[in-house]
């Protein structure tokens, strides 16, 4: 059961069901898109996911996690 909608803390522990299937689906979603189209797709995807998460503190943690290399 994904925790995303209720957790008030960012989950960075492994949480994706079937990671390989997910990764394949992610790359698949970009198939046939030009680089510009992919660059337009990504923010749409991010916004959809952000809405699913909802919690601003969690999203801020996600920004910080993504910023750390």
């Amino acid at each position: 059961m994904p925790q995303a909608t209720t957790a008030q803390q960012l989950t960075t522990a492994p949480n994706i069901e079937a990671p390989d299937d997910f990764y394949e689906a992610l790359i698949e979603a970009h198939q046939g898109l030009s680089t510009d189209q992919s660059h337009a797709f990504n923010p749409r995807l991010l916004l959809v996911l952000a809405n699913h998460i909802g919690s601003l503190p969690v999203l801020r943690e996600a920004f910080a996690a993504a910023a750390r290399k």
Binding site: H39, A40, N42, P43, R44, L46, L47, V48, N51
Partner: protein, 544 residues
């Protein structure tokens, strides 16, 4: 019909100009724009004589501020000219947002009924100033001096000395308090060596007011990146007299002098309306804007209000509207201090409250500007992603920002608020502007809560009937009498006819709301007694 734009007001030599020593007046208001006029009227209605100085002898040139918000109209009601504004103005509640050539969604700013005034009326600034000036002319306590330009100022312990230039030469005028309502290029601010600081936006906009018969509803239409004006935004808005405001984003590189020429403007308008469109160009202006404010709105005996104190982008209609709210905030406080109901410290709260409100307006305005004018490629990608998603997803519509339209600030942090001791639901928290609701007056006629509670005094809104409500009403009267400050009372039965009011205020029989003279809530109780109301009154006047 009066052509308010061509109206000129006569300079008249005033006896103060021939006085042997400077004459001292309680309040000088500088600038007879919407803010200065509203302030002068409010003060005069409170019994304070006002000298209103204006460096010109005409009203607004061009339509300029055109959107007057519900709260401003409610204030104009109290100032005796709300009905004229609403009667002449174009009322609107619906906005539509387009991306490229597709409508992505529409919104209703006032989805609920039960308010005397609409979310907005569109009305050219020269009408607003004209109606206010006519109202001011009917108030003997207002001494409006056209072609009186303040050219020098010195602050003293108990007054401000002003040097005023006129066509007959300069004269000296002293004022106990001065309100600088003299606009974004405030000369009073410059004379005191003060600044309004912030952020300038690297973008240019063209305003074109065109006169034409156009069969469209009174709605706000906003385009992001339309086919007829690629990569920029366009706003279309109806004004009275068949005048339409069109606002074209031009980008930073546009040449303002070139863009002002009719031969440049007309093709842009035709691109929007069609090649065959018949219209007359009424007024055009190319502008840039900044979000900025002064560090403090009070400097000794001088108060800054409106654009002199703060500036915002036009998206959101937060300029003139917030200025009128500044005026309302300042008027009752100056009157209370001059009438010795409150100490000078009350005037500090003008700065605190309106600086807080300005920050809120600047925040909204800056965010809208960042959405309309993305500052980087990635910012633009996100902006377009939001617009694309908004076609199908309600969540994305909440992110579209073509201007968060002016609503009054809730003064959460004000020291004049008495914090709740009782439990309440809803948004009528201490610091909020009282919400309107329909009511039945004592004589059986239909009325409105804010108009009944619009005497300009502190007002106790008492809900319910019977002993519990009578006790609350007596508590308010006793508190006012003990403090020597009149408290008006508005009684609202908790019956079917007043269900909306009770819901908006989360009220039960015996609930009492104490409203300040500017209709902000400053305290509320389930079971009030005279001591509680008196303490809240003292707090709201800085007498505690």
């Amino acid at each position: 019909m009066i052509d308010y734009q061509s109206l000129r007001f006569d300079y008249k030599r005033h006896p103060d100009q021939d006085a042997a020593a400077p004459v001292r007046r309680p309040v000088a208001v500088i600038g007879a724009g919407p803010v200065g006029l509203a302030l002068a009227i409010d003060l005069a209605q409170r019994g304070i004589p006002v000298v209103l100085l204006d460096n010109d002898n005409a009203l607004s040139t061009g339509s300029r501020a055109i959107c007057f918000a519900k709260r401003t109209l409610e204030i104009f009601d109290r100032l005796g000219c709300g009905e004229r504004m609403v009667g002449k103005g174009v009322s609107w509640n619906v906005g539509r947002v387009f991306f490229r050539n597709e409508e992505i969604y529409s919104f209703d700013l006032l989805p609920e009924t039960g308010h005397a005034r609409p979310a907005f009326v569109n009305l050219q600034q020269y009408y607003v100033e004209g109606f206010l000036a006519e109202r001011a002319a009917g108030l003997p306590l207002i001494d409006l001096r056209w072609k009186n330009k303040v050219a020098g100022t010195v602050q003293h312990a108990d007054h401000v000395a002003l040097t005023v230039e006129t066509p007959d030469g300069p004269y000296q005028l002293d004022a106990v308090y001065v309100a600088a309502c003299d606009g974004s290029r405030s000369s009073m601010r410059a004379l005191l060596g003060l600044e309004s600081k912030g952020r300038q936006f690297k973008d240019r906009f063209l305003i074109a007011d065109v006169k034409m018969k156009l069969d469209r509803p009174a709605e706000r239409w906003f385009w992001f990146d339309p086919e007829f004006h690629r990569n920029q935004s366009v706003l279309l808005h109806m004004q009275p007299d068949n005048v339409w405001r069109i606002d074209f984003q031009l980008g930073w590189d546009a040449d303002p002098e070139e863009e002002k020429k009719p031969e440049k403007i007309i093709p842009r308008v035709k691109a929007l309306l069609g090649e065959d469109a018949q219209f007359d160009l009424e007024w055009a202006s190319v502008y840039t804007f900044s979000c900025l404010r002064m560090d403090r709105f009070r400097h000794g005996r001088v108060f800054f209000a409106g654009d002199s104190a703060h500036g915002v982008s036009p998206f959101g209609a937060r300029g003139a509207n917030s200025g009128v709210q500044d005026a309302e905030n300042l008027a009752w406080k100056l009157a209370a201090v001059l009438q010795r109901q409150a100490p000078d410290a009350l005037l500090d709260s003008y700065g605190h409250e309106r600086e807080y409100a300005a920050d809120e307006n600047i925040l909204h305005s800056t965010r809208a500007t960042d959405f309309i004018t993305p500052k980087s490629e990635v910012s633009r990608l996100f902006r377009d992603a939001v617009l694309e998603l908004a076609k199908r997803h309600a969540f994305a519509r909440t992110l579209v920002n073509s201007g968060r339209l002016s609503v009054p600030a809730t003064l959460h942090t004000s020291a004049l608020n008495t914090p709740d001791a009782d439990a309440f639901e809803g948004c009528m928290v201490p610091g909020a502007v009282a919400a309107d609701a329909p009511l039945v007056r004592a004589d059986g006629t239909a009325g409105w809560l804010l108009q009944e509670a619009g005497s300009g005094a502190f007002t106790a809104v008492v809900f319910g009937s019977g002993e519990v409500a009578d006790r609350a009403a007596r508590a308010a009267a006793a508190a006012g009498a003990a403090a020597g400050v009149p408290i008006e009372t508005v009684r609202i039965p908790t019956d079917e006819a007043h269900a909306l009011a009770a819901r908006r205020y989360d009220a039960r029989a015996g609930t009492l709301y104490l409203l300040r003279p500017d209709q902000h809530v400053c305290g509320r109780w389930r079971r009030a007694d005279a001591g509680l109301v008196r303490a809240a009154l003292d707090r709201a006047l800085c007498n505690a």
